[in-house]
Symmetry: C2
């Protein structure tokens, strides 16, 4: 990052030093119409500098984590969170507040214990993976077979695995490995079951060295036996690794009380600041309101909810009205199924021409370090202006590769403009999906910066002199850094 930043700074200084070239002098009147005015740029800069010193996001997150706490999809906390969100949107002065039902199957955690039986009896600290079936009440006892990675396990002959509990002991070294190391959690239970394993236990998908197991969903496959699946903390995995080094058989007992439950109806909760000129067109920002049950969901994704609520609230409070509306969507049940995002997509997929742009916040407390986009080519110039306004916050100009995120990716794939405001992730997976995801980890300067970046994004996108989305036009991936 630092190298890129330096290169960009040097490049920008060089460009600023150039004399006005013919290319620069030949800007069409039409191109000017697609740029923000000087006054708009000044307003955005004022918003940026004011918002950066405003603790609105920090206060909102303190409220959510204190007054609601854990809010796993389908739990009593889920209902409390929906009530909290509606009330908070109203308290913050949003022009419109409503909720839209989302129905999904539930899952409950229950008891979760494990111990090494031999060669050395030791209790383990584990947690069930989301969606896991339970064990028999008396638990599951079997030999543990260790693999360094999911790939190693898939390569191994089934007769080595049959009747055993698979242990995928793959250490996540840094936050960029969530996709690759996380595969052991995402599909490990199904892949192990195909080889006859009777249970799965993984090293937690997390970058910390604390005795906190990381939960998160595991997936089963139709036609494949569903086996109980859990994660042990990194500290426990280190200890079990030491046992394996002794070349003695290792046996585990694991008891999980987790189970599927009946359907439940929760809600996407939505607050809107109404635009002055095109109120039915809107920019969407947001995060997911549900959390896992182990912590209070401060970074995942209370932070994203607070950042997006505060971004819109500060715009409203300061009376700097945008032309289009700003819609904050707090999605239901992202963690277990993305049911909230799916419901939103189904409801609005035929009205995408009304969506100017989206950006979701679901990677922690910030700061925002980079902004990438996915917009119509004739909006590039305006996006560059947005990036210039954000630069003093330390936000790098990113490319045209915005993917839309976990809750808004499907809209983007229909041609809705999307922006990735990348939140700093180096410590996110220390806390992610653990009991340690609590408010005391939040640093005001980080989350305030993130809310300021989102405020600038939301206001400028809503105010923009040009449509960002591809709308119903055919579109294709465009290359190059713009």
């Amino acid at each position: 990052m630092q190298a890129n930043k330096l290169r960009r700074t040097v490049l920008m200084s060089f460009i600023a030093s150039l004399p006005l070239l013919s290319m620069g002098a030949s800007v069409h009147a039409q191109d000017h119409a697609k740029l923000f005015s000087e006054k708009e740029l000044q307003t955005a800069a004022w918003l940026r500098d004011t918002a950066k010193l405003d603790s609105s996001s920090y206060r909102i997150l303190e409220s959510l984590t204190t007054e609601v706490g854990p809010r796993m999809a389908g739990s009593a906390g889920d209902a409390r969170a929906v009530a909290w969100a509606e009330a908070k949107f109203k308290e913050l002065g949003f022009d419109k507040v409503w909720k839209e039902p989302v129905t999904f199957p539930t899952w409950t955690r229950g008891v979760e214990t494990a111990e090494i039986i031999s060669p050395f009896a030791q209790p383990l600290v584990i947690t069930a993976l989301g969606g896991s079936v339970g064990t028999a009440p008396e638990g599951l006892r079997a030999e543990l077979i260790q693999f360094a990675t999911l790939a190693e396990m898939i390569k191994a002959p089934a007769d080595q695995i049959r009747g055993k509990i698979v242990f995928i002991n793959h250490k996540m070294r840094n936050h960029t490995e969530y996709g690759s190391v996380g595969a052991g959690r995402f599909v490990g239970a199904a892949e192990a079951a195909k080889k006859g394993a009777i249970g799965l236990v993984i090293r937690s998908i997390g970058t910390d060295s604390h005795r906190m197991p990381h939960t998160g969903m595991t997936g089963y496959e139709d036609g494949v036996t569903k086996i109980p699946a859990a994660a042990m903390s990194n500290s426990d995995a280190d200890m079990v690794s030491n046992m394996f080094k002794r070349k003695l058989p290792v046996s585990l007992k694991m008891t999980l009380g987790s189970a599927a439950g009946p359907n439940y109806t929760s809600y996407n909760v939505i607050g809107e600041i109404t635009g002055t000129e095109k109120p039915d067109e809107h920019v969407i920002i947001g995060g997911h309101l549900d959390s896992w049950d182990l912590g209070t969901g401060a970074i995942d994704d209370g932070a994203g909810c607070a950042i997006s609520m505060a971004a819109a609230e500060m715009i409203k409070r300061h009376g700097i009205k945008p032309k289009r509306s700003i819609r904050v969507v707090l999605f239901a049940n992202e963690e277990q199924s993305g049911a909230g995002a799916n419901a939103y997509f189904e409801k609005y997929k035929n009205q995408i021409s009304k969506i100017q742009a989206t950006s979701e916040a679901d990677s922690g407390q910030g700061p925002v370090i980079r902004m990438a986009s996915f917009v119509r080519p004739d909006a590039y110039a305006a996006v560059k202006q947005m990036q210039t306004v954000m630069a003093p916050l330390g936000v790098e100009a990113g490319g045209s590769d915005s993917g839309g995120g976990s809750d808004m990716g499907e809209l983007r794939n229909l041609g809705v403009a999307s922006f990735d405001l990348d939140l700093r992730g180096d410590d996110y997976f220390d806390l992610h999906h653990t009991p340690d995801d609590t408010f005391d980890k939040i640093e005001p300067a980080r989350i305030n910066q993130a809310a300021a970046a989102y405020a600038v994004f939301a206001w400028m996108a809503a105010q923009a002199p040009v449509n960002f989305s591809f709308g119903k036009e055919p579109f294709k991936k465009h290359d190059g850094d713009h």
Copy 2:
């Protein structure tokens, strides 16, 4: 520390630059007899440099935490630890290995859950304080009354407290505050009960910001009602603090299954390297073999056991035989009552003339940052030589204020020489008494340095040309830095 170190370095350079003064030239023949020889100093320096690069302590601690793990006094792990220690002493080549029985009452933990009932329902992560009585099986429900410190609670009128659960919310900012902030744990339950409280819950006595509660003993008083006592993690305490800021009544439900149990006989386990000239005189080093049950007791006090076992083992392995014996004592049940130390004291209090010096290791993984002593005045010169040998390890020369530690303080009070080899403590209370006290926190360079310092201490004290202890002579505290 850095300032002291700098001052000492400057002072030593200054002294080295002085011409030989008459004072220096007038050293008596008798004084020379109380100094280590040049050859002994060279041997000690060789041991220091060799031991610093030796991972014996790290390997011993890996063995204890992997093969035994938690070993709370009176538990099944206690018996496994005793068997491990005897076998390990023999494996390491100690000349004599034996154990001495220690009988004490037991305590069991059982279930431990708590939740805030109002104003906002939230589960808490708590742990029972050692020795706590349990609640009724259905739990204890009452209003929580918050105090900033134990002193504030003691000052408050009883009618504010009667029938409530006291919450001492005193944050330990750094490791020097264990005595002061820890008072809330040591005597909080008894003091709260005197005012009619029906339960105690404290903010954990620890310097971390993780969702890990810290256990540790609480004490009751004869004639005062025993009330259930627990600690919540610092993260939970921050959250509950936020609830209290709303000026609404806060109610707690807490269920503890802890209970006193029958007497149990464990053992002090002892290994000795026999001295060549005065085998019945000995230097004692050691730590305590028991741990709390939540972690694997890596830093408390597996590290102390490993450091002292390795220190003696390296001396034996390298064949540098000391004149007096080196005795490594692994004490039973330090955590709950000091029963092991008491038994040792009772057994040996009439033979203290045989004890050349003691030093116990019970403050984590090192490094050793300072060595203070408590010795006969005519041993000062030899102790200064020991400090000079240790200086290249980064060990500062301390004063004459050694207190003898938790397990050997009573011997010191009878006139046995004691040495404090101070282990770096700044991160010790991040892990102390939590599930996070595990081997993955151990850094080889730190524990190896500590074992090297203990090896130098043990060998030089055993080899010393002068008796260190006051023996049966009357003694008094002597002043000044020597």
